[in-house]
């Protein structure tokens, strides 16, 4: 298709009028996106939310403008060049094949746009991924179907997330069972909670209030309830003024010590191992033990050995502490933990197990044959 065969074409006045109209519409749409009251629908609770919204405004404005031009031209060409009733059946359109100049520009324009967008995105992304030092480190853990949180120097996991206004936060997220996701729309941030993996992001809360946390990764039957709408486990993050945060933190720290003291006290007592519920034990095993122990044979080691047949394995009659493999001795290890050359197992308090939990776990381990 040699280009010199193409007729020379001129765009008529009508085309430029339509182009001008589309240009005005595009400008209005850009203006709209720059001023759109996003925050009245969705507050920006952290510094990164403002940056991400700025990027969104840029994307939405340029996307809408482009869309207006493309749809406008489609509509205009379809109407203006429509075959009229009187047009002969064999009439043909203007036989042009190519226009190097035009094609050069419309390849260059999106290229430039992509470069700008990439730089814009990179700058914001860099701020989210790279954490500065001395931040408050909080850990969020997904469960079917609720969230728990760990704070520095606070024993165990707490069910509420509080953050101090104006303090940089590093958030680590992970999961105890399946993949969940941790999304706070008001923060415009999200990370999947993947079992065995820790995902991290960094932000600084800038607006006081209570914001909902939503799971966006399919996580089982109650996935749709894993957000603040649920009455069972409402999922919120509270952004408090520093003083209120400090008092919440102090109170929580105290309560959690008591919680673990209670477990500690209980653990010195003898346990009655009858009447454990293996099914509850199985759930606990998945949540608390399975990161280090498989429910498979002894040799299937993750951190510790596989626990199938732990109570009934002629090849391994003794437990790691040298005691005979009896239910009582297994319960003892669950209470006291274990520290040895091959590794370390947390004790009852660190694992957050009640006495009943231990009874249930032992009952479950008995069923693993």
């Amino acid at each position: 298709m040699p280009e010199n065969r193409d007729p020379v074409v001129h765009l008529d006045r009508q085309f430029w009028i339509v182009t001008a109209v589309l240009g005005v519409l595009a400008l209005i749409s850009i203006f709209w996106w720059v001023w759109a009251p996003i925050t009245s629908i969705m507050p920006e609770a952290v510094d990164k939310a403002q940056q991400i919204d700025a990027l969104f405004r840029f994307l939405a404005a340029s996307g809408t403008a482009l869309f207006i031009f493309i749809c406008g031209y489609i509509l205009y060409f379809s109407l203006a060049f429509r075959r009229h009733a009187g047009t002969p059946e064999n009439a043909v359109g203007i036989q042009i094949h190519d226009n190097n100049k035009l094609e050069f520009w419309w390849t260059l324009a999106p290229t430039v746009f992509v470069v700008i967008m990439a730089i814009f995105s990179l700058r914001i992304w860099y701020g989210i991924e790279v954490a500065p030092s001395n931040t408050l480190v909080v850990e969020a853990i997904g469960h079917q179907w609720y969230y728990t949180f760990r704070y520095p120097n606070v024993n165990g996991e707490v069910k509420e997330m509080h953050l101090p206004l104006g303090q940089a936060v590093t958030l680590h997220v992970t999961s105890s069972d399946v993949i969940h996701s941790f999304w706070i729309p008001a923060m415009r941030l999200k990370a999947d909670m993947v079992p065995g993996l820790i995902n991290t992001f960094e932000f600084t809360p800038t607006r006081q209030g209570r914001y909902e946390i939503i799971c966006t990764e399919f996580c089982g039957l109650n996935h749709g309830l894993m957000h603040s709408g649920t009455t069972v486990n409402p999922a919120y993050v509270y952004i408090d003024p520093p003083a209120r945060y400090a008092s919440w933190y102090a109170r929580t720290e105290r309560e959690q010590i008591h919680a673990s003291n209670a477990i500690e006290a209980a653990s010195t007592s003898e346990l009655k191992l009858n009447g454990g519920e293996p099914r509850d034990g199985a759930k606990l095993f998945a949540a608390k033990c399975s990161a280090c122990h498989a429910a498979g044979p002894f040799d299937q080691k993750i951190v510790g050995p596989g626990l199938r047949g732990v109570l009934d394995d002629p090849a391994h009659p003794n437990l790691v502490d040298g005691d005979k493999a009896t239910p009582e001795n297994v319960a003892k290890i669950l209470q006291n933990g274990f520290k040895g050359s091959m590794g370390q197992m947390p004790n009852q308090a660190a694992n957050g197990l009640s006495n009943k939990d231990i009874v249930n776990l032992v009952a479950y381990l008995k069923t693993l044959k």
Binding site: I74, H97, S121, L122, F218, H223
Partner: protein, 551 residues
Amino acid sequence: MTAVAAHAGGGLADHIHPEPQGFIRKYVFSIDHKIIGIQYMITAFLFMILGGMLAELIRVQLMKASGGLMTPETYNEVYSVHGSTMVWLVIIPLLTGGFGNLIFPVQIGARDVAFPWLNMLSFWLFPPAGLMLYASFLMGAPTAGWTEYPPMSLNAYGAHDGTSMWAAAIFLIGVSSTMTGINFLVTILKMRAPGMTFTRMPLFVWGQFVTAPLLMIATTALGAALAALFVQRQFGVAFFDPTRGGSPLLWQHMFWFYSHPAVYIMILPAFGMISEILPTFSRKPIFGYKMIAFSSCAIAILGFMVWAHHMFTSGLAPALQLPFMVLTMLIAIPTGVKIFSWVTTLWGGVIHMTTAMLFAIGFLATFTLGGITGVFLAAVPFDLHAHGTYFIVAHLHYVLVGGSLMGILAGLFYWYPKMSGRLMNEKLGKWAFWLFFIGFNGTFLPMHWLGMWGQPRRVAVYDPQFQAWNQVASWFSFVMTAALILVLFNALWSMRNGKRSGPNPWNARTLEWQIPSPMPYYNFKHVPSVFAAPYDFAEPLPYRGLEEELT
């Protein structure tokens, strides 16, 4: 001239087998690419009815924030099988095995594909695979979506036994796809008519040509992933189970290494269809032929290097997010060039507003919107907000329904005469188009803001504040379904009652229109030779040797 004659000789003619006469050999176990193409289409449209019914179950469930139609367990099965059906049993088979088989061998002047028996085998793996997928309902269908991310696809976490059946079914359809890819690639490379150089190939052939390697290469990765999932589920090998040292992210990488190229498997042939229909009904050469062809190649190559943009929130190393983001954004360039070229093709044309043309123009508008939101999602910071929400649902339906399915419907109205010798009813067709266009946009447009405001995908119940817009989406989805029923009715009705089309009702210029409708067993009495690209509407046809085709 002698060189051309030598090239045209022996080789192609040697492939001639006598036309089978029995019903079984002619219509069931046929090796004729046209019959196989029609078989693919009929099967895929049947599965589309099933998948569409599942879609409506989803929309009825979501009419109320508290659900109510189904338990969450059933709902999870329904959307998982809906997604799997539409991707693997509808869109991919229609675009490759269906329209691909039916049209592209004729467009390159071949009498069949390179491996007709392999083609038959490809097809005959497809219905059993589909039945297996639906049989999984009997043992508890898969629940973790069409992506089936572990650990949710493992029984220990609540998956059903049918998930293994799902893996086996998709594996089978993957084998079928791979064979189709090999077949089409060899056919296009080796069986073009004399003079049919690469820059004279119709753009639908280009679409199939760049899709075939994707089918071949990417699908094997899916096969490996599915095999691993199957072995994990049935024999306990812990590929993906984190509690036993496996990695759930491994599945995501393997799955998307296939499924992102699969997105292009599902759109490049539709690009090809649009590139045929727009010039034909504008009576104009396609604008920027070479740019359209080469941009397809660019999209296919880039398509292999961007899979992890589905995993921006999954826990990708930061150093990996960067290249995946930038490469994904780069795809906007060839795609943009295509869209600009198509719109420019309309300019200065003599536009015949047939139903096929309406669907093609509708494709331009809706696919553009889906493409633009795709670029948004490439920007990691924006994806951190939108990932896993209804914004994604909106985006993917804009490209798969507003793109692929619109293309398929345009192609159906355009090429229907080549299958049946009759035209589909234009009046019904135009009604169907407008109902479809309105219903589609009404269904999926609100999902953009639903997602931005906080509705996650794959939920059986949701926050009551989103109920109003969900109801809007559901009501419009009924309109869309009505339109699709109208199209299917039209196709059935026109088989007997449609106007006779003659060989070339649209005055189109590619080779399939130069032979009778429906197309005869051997396509061409004499293999034609080609001396120019097919889109010069003011010129005589660029073929020699077609004089006896219509006699």
